[in-house]
């Protein structure tokens, strides 16, 4: 019979010396390891503290309250460079989330599409999908971002002044996309209780209906009644909350017509001016009226290929219904040297041409090309509008903005005074250059606050040289999003294909034998099973997409990494910024992973 051997005892029964005892060795090894790690950390701490002592750079987080001064073009919350660093950082985090969440949704769609295409019965589609995957996943994401940003989305779309109007009021140009958007107005708070009630009713009714259906033991859909009830309550609430004409106490508009901009705000001290300590009213609907006004422009336009064309002129986007009468003339007849003028259409564009055959109309070949008419380019054009009226919804910071009209006669007079003076041939809008102090005559502009419901529809427009109103997606954002989506989709496509192929063939055959159509076989039998295989690797791709959004500096998009690196360079606070960067990314990854793993748990096959 074998004797039992206790730990710490050899077979012959004598005690093992401690240096051969596995437990003791393990303990000692850990001790030595910890000592080494501690030593390294101490060394690190000493070096860093002496280096910091020498350079006097900030080593704590106190600098976060200082003024940031970082311009971020696209912020989901109110932000100006006057805000502190902490706010800039928050904007960065929100921008990271904005690009990665939208990216995850879009890349899933595209990835599944390509993955399914790879298994299509159609040879052509299969080949296209295969080429898509083989090329895009083997090209660096950095190259793809540069491609979309600098080679496609910046140079190719129309310039901002010539923004293309897509159906649905969407504007598209080299400054990105802008589309109409519903914003909560100051009435929204009155509607909020109704919404909450609707939500509660929805949940309760849903539970009740589900129970009823369960008890009645018959098939049925528990959704229609609860949804209908919730929508009715919401709609009634909307009407009630929007009824009457209750504007907030002390609301006022400070509008400077010669700059074309103003602010809607609560006038706390009643002086009619917007002071720094007064709070702006976001998303207030206003109507701006001008009885008469002028805008100037010149005919130099730079085309998409970088060529200068003298013939075409443009004014800021003005719709035909916004004006009573409109007229375009030369500012200085004598400078125009016999050229003729044609005001083509809304949005306010037209062309100047040389009427060589004297028929009073434009014919091909009469346009003023570069080189064809040397010295031309100083001719300014004047747009005079009567009864201009535009509905403007204030921005998040209470700002409203229209084209900067001058009072009638002002521009012509100024031009005459300056005749012969040098003018910058590349300035398209002289109104932007504010006249010498006090010279600008104020224009009589009326700004009315419009009644609005809890939600207000804001439409984008181009008053000067960028979008105002609506929701704007900058070129940077679009380029980054597009590159991330297209790149990640090539990985997701492979995951989807492998997942679908892993579903046993018998499942498909059985479904077909039961008489299910191709579509139903796929959507009801194959895909749900494939999803369980697909999801875990998909989650890691989603995390990759989120982390890859840090390539944003290549598209000049102000997300977490870009903001942090600017902060680190401005303040020199390397240690705090390192901690912030790592903690933020690890946290974002962790939150993503936890949520997605919860989803995974839910759809996972329940095994015994």
């Amino acid at each position: 019979m074998a004797a039992t051997i206790r730990p710490g005892q050899s077979r012959s029964g004598e005690r093992i010396p401690f240096y051969r005892n596995v437990k003791v060795i393990g303990f000692l090894v850990q001790l030595i390891f910890l000592a080494l790690v501690l030593l390294a950390l101490l060394l690190l701490y000493r070096n860093i503290s002496t280096a910091l002592g020498k350079s006097r750079l900030p080593a704590d987080f106190g600098f976060l309250d200082d003024r940031a001064g970082i311009p971020i073009a696209e912020a989901p919350i109110r932000y100006t460079p006057e805000y502190p660093y902490s706010r800039a950082l928050l904007v960065g985090v929100l921008n990271t989330l904005k690009v990665s969440l939208v990216g995850v949704a879009l890349t899933s769609l595209l990835g599944v599409l390509i993955g399914v295409m790879r298994l299509s019965q159609n040879w052509l589609l299969r080949q296209i999908a295969t080429i898509y995957v083989a090329t895009l996943r083997n090209t660096p994401l950095a190259v793809q971002i540069v491609f979309w940003f600098t080679a496609v989305l910046s140079p190719i779309p129309p310039r901002i002044l010539n923004a293309a109007e897509l159906p649905g009021g969407i504007l598209f140009s080299n400054k990105g996309l802008a589309f109409p958007w519903l914003y909560p107005s100051y009435r929204f708070l009155a509607w909020l209780p109704w919404l909450l009630v609707a939500l509660v009713v929805l949940i309760i009714l849903y539970l009740v209906r589900r129970r009823q259906i369960f008890l009645s033991d018959r098939p049925g859909n528990p959704w229609p009644l609860p949804l209908l009830a919730a929508v009715v309550i919401g709609a009634v609430g909307y009407l009630v909350a929007g009824a009457g004409n209750k504007l907030p106490e002390g609301i006022a508009v400070d509008f400077n017509s010669s700059r074309g901009r103003g602010t809607v705000f609560i006038d706390a001290n009643g002086n009619g001016r917007f002071d720094n300590d007064e709070s702006p009213v976001p998303f207030a609907a206003t109507t701006v009226r001008l009885s008469e006004g002028e805008l100037t422009t010149n005919t130099q336009n730079i085309t998409e290929s970088g060529r200068i064309v003298h013939s075409v002129f443009r004014f800021p986007l003005i719709e035909e219904r916004e004006v009573g009468a409109v007229e375009v003339t030369f500012v200085n007849e004598e400078d125009a040297g016999g050229f003729a003028l044609r005001f083509t259409r809304f949005p306010t564009t037209g062309m100047v041409y040389e009427d060589r055959n004297g028929n009073g109309a434009f014919d091909r070949g009469e346009e003023l090309e570069e080189g064809a008419t040397t010295g031309f380019g100083n001719v300014e054009l004047l747009l005079t509008v009567k009864d201009f009226e535009r509905a403007v919804v204030a921005d998040r910071d209470g700002q409203i903005r229209i084209p900067a009209f001058k009072s009638v006669g002002f521009t012509a007079q100024k031009a005459r005074e300056e005749a012969g003076g040098s003018s910058n041939p590349f300035s398209i809008f002289s109104p932007m250059q504010s006249g010498a102090g006090g010279e600008t005559a104020e224009l009589a502009a009326e700004v009315d606050l419009r009644r609005s419901g809890p939600l207000v529809l804001s439409k984008p427009s181009v008053p000067v040289s960028n979008y105002v109103g609506g929701i704007r997606l900058t070129t940077s954002y679009l380029a980054l999003l597009l590159a991330l989506v297209v790149y990640t989709a090539s990985f997701i496509a492979e995951i989807v294909r492998a997942g679908i192929q892993a579903v046993p063939k018998g499942q498909r055959e059985a479904a077909q034998a039961l008489g299910l159509s191709n579509y139903h076989t796929f959507s009801l039998v194959v895909f749900p099973q494939a999803l369980r295989i697909i999801l875990p690797p998909m989650i890691s791709q989603y995390l990759n997409l989120t982390k890859n959004s840090s390539l944003a500096p290549l598209a000049a998009f102000g997300e977490l990494f870009v903001v942090s690196s600017i902060m680190a360079n401005q303040t020199g606070a390397s240690i705090p910024m390192t901690v912030i960067l790592i903690v933020s990314y690890v946290l974002i990854s962790l939150v993503f992973a936890v949520i997605l793993n919860l989803v995974n748990e839910r759809i996972k096959l329940v095994e015994r």
Binding site: V29, T50, N122, L124, L125, T139, V146, T150, S565
Partner: protein, 405 residues
């Protein structure tokens, strides 16, 4: 009575193929036609642009910048000698294994050799300064193959030669004496172009032992070591490479308490890349370790092997063999990700195109710039190497898979 039947419909031939693959149903037919019209339009436009509208001259003129950036012309023999030695070693390895099963390595060697020969031809005609250097590279690669094939005994020396070539190559590239003596030092900020991209990709080599150590540490039964490794791996993997490159350039001078100018950006980027790949390598290796059946370890212990011997002789060889495709995949990812070193101001292949060539006055004078040409050139070059590696990885996967079953 003979039963007469019509012959079955032909299942082969061009028409049947078309019918089966493109026009199997009306919907499918419409899809095919619509897709091919769009595709044809895209391809024609792309071809027209590539051949007629695009200005490739700026790419052609700047090829040296793309290849080695500002590495001095009179010192160009150094990178070329390294290339020649590597090609020679590769040739010898393939030559030795001629009769073996490593068809994949041979195919890769053939592809690279083809590229080298093509470049040699171009060099002989157009590039005066490196004409003979390219010829040397070609000859060395062929000579290596012949040597390996004729004298299989060199196989014994090959691993050592490969091992030495890495540090010696870096030393040769950097130089020995400051100023203009024997092998003058070429500072890191003059390194760049595709050469730098390849150098940074070799960060995978030092990351391999680190990764194996981390993977073993993560599986260790000693909690201190285990949790240290888990923490290291997960924190590194939690944040993207670009942040680590940035952090390395901020922190390394502080940690080592030296002036930032003493630490060339190349070195900082290299450290960041190595540590970053080590974390990912560790996870790959861990996958391999988990794939080794527990019985292997138990059998080894039963034979009386010590814990370390078991790991070294039984577990690791099997685990590492299983993760070769994953490591090739990681190499592809790293090769692509080296483009991120633009953030620390390094002029690798990507940054030379994006920053230097795109902003040359001559490039800016071209209407519309040459961004499109440059990004296509970049994409194509990266793609060529990454795609070749990925096909090799797939072949490897298949080969190893067959071996297992």
């Amino acid at each position: 009575m003979a039963l007469t039947r019509k012959p079955p419909k032909a299942q082969t031939g061009v028409l049947m193929w078309l019918r089966r693959n493109l026009f199997s149903s009306p919907a499918n037919g419409i899809l095919t036609i619509v897709t091919s019209v769009i595709l044809a339009g895209a391809v024609i436009n792309l071809l027209r642009w590539t051949l007629f509208a695009a200005s490739w001259e700026r790419v052609w003129v700047n090829l040296r910048l793309f290849a080695v950036f500002r590495y001095p012309v009179e010192q160009l023999w150094r990178p070329m000698v390294i290339l020649a030695v590597i090609m020679g070693l590769l040739g010898a390895s393939v030559g030795v294994a001629r009769h073996g099963s490593s068809r994949i390595l041979r195919d890769v060697y053939r592809n690279i050799l083809g590229l080298v020969l093509a470049l040699t031809l171009v060099a002989l005609v157009f590039w005066e300064s490196v004409r003979w250097l390219w010829l040397m590279v070609s000859l060395t690669s062929l000579a290596g193959y012949l040597l390996g094939a004729v004298r299989p005994r060199v196989a014994r020396a090959l691993p050592w030669l490969w091992a030495i070539s890495f540090p010696v190559g870096l030393l040769l590239l950097y130089g020995v004496t400051p100023g203009s003596g024997f092998l003058p030092i070429v500072k890191g900020h003059d390194w760049g172009g595709f050469m730098l991209t390849l150098i940074l990709t070799t960060g995978l080599i030092p990351s391999f032992p680190l990764g194996v150590a981390l993977a073993l540490g993560r599986r260790s039964k000693l909690p201190a070591i285990k949790y240290f490794c888990i923490g290291f791996i997960e924190i590194i993997r939690g944040a993207p490479l670009i942040t680590w490159l940035f952090i390395a350039s901020l922190l390394l001078p502080l940690i080592l308490d030296t002036d930032p100018t003493n630490l060339p950006a190349v070195l900082r980027a290299y450290v960041a890349i190595t540590l970053f790949s080590a974390a990912y390598m560790a996870e790959n290796v861990r996958g391999g370790l988990q794939a080794v059946p527990i019985g292997q370890e138990e059998a080894a212990r039963a034979l009386g092997l010590s814990g370390w011997q078991t790991t070294r002789l039984i577990v690791l060889p099997q685990a590492l063999r299983a993760v070769i495709p994953a490591i090739v995949g990681q190499a592809i990812a790293l090769f692509k990700d080296t483009s991120l070193v633009f953030i620390v101001g390094l002029n690798d292949f990507f940054n030379v195109a994006k920053d230097i060539v795109a902003n040359q006055p001559e490039s800016l004078r071209i209407p519309g710039g040459i961004q499109l040409e440059l990004s296509l050139f970049l994409a194509l070059t990266y793609w060529f190497f990454a795609y070749r590696m990925s096909t090799a990885s797939r072949q490897l996967e298949r080969q190893l898979g067959v071996g297992e079953r």
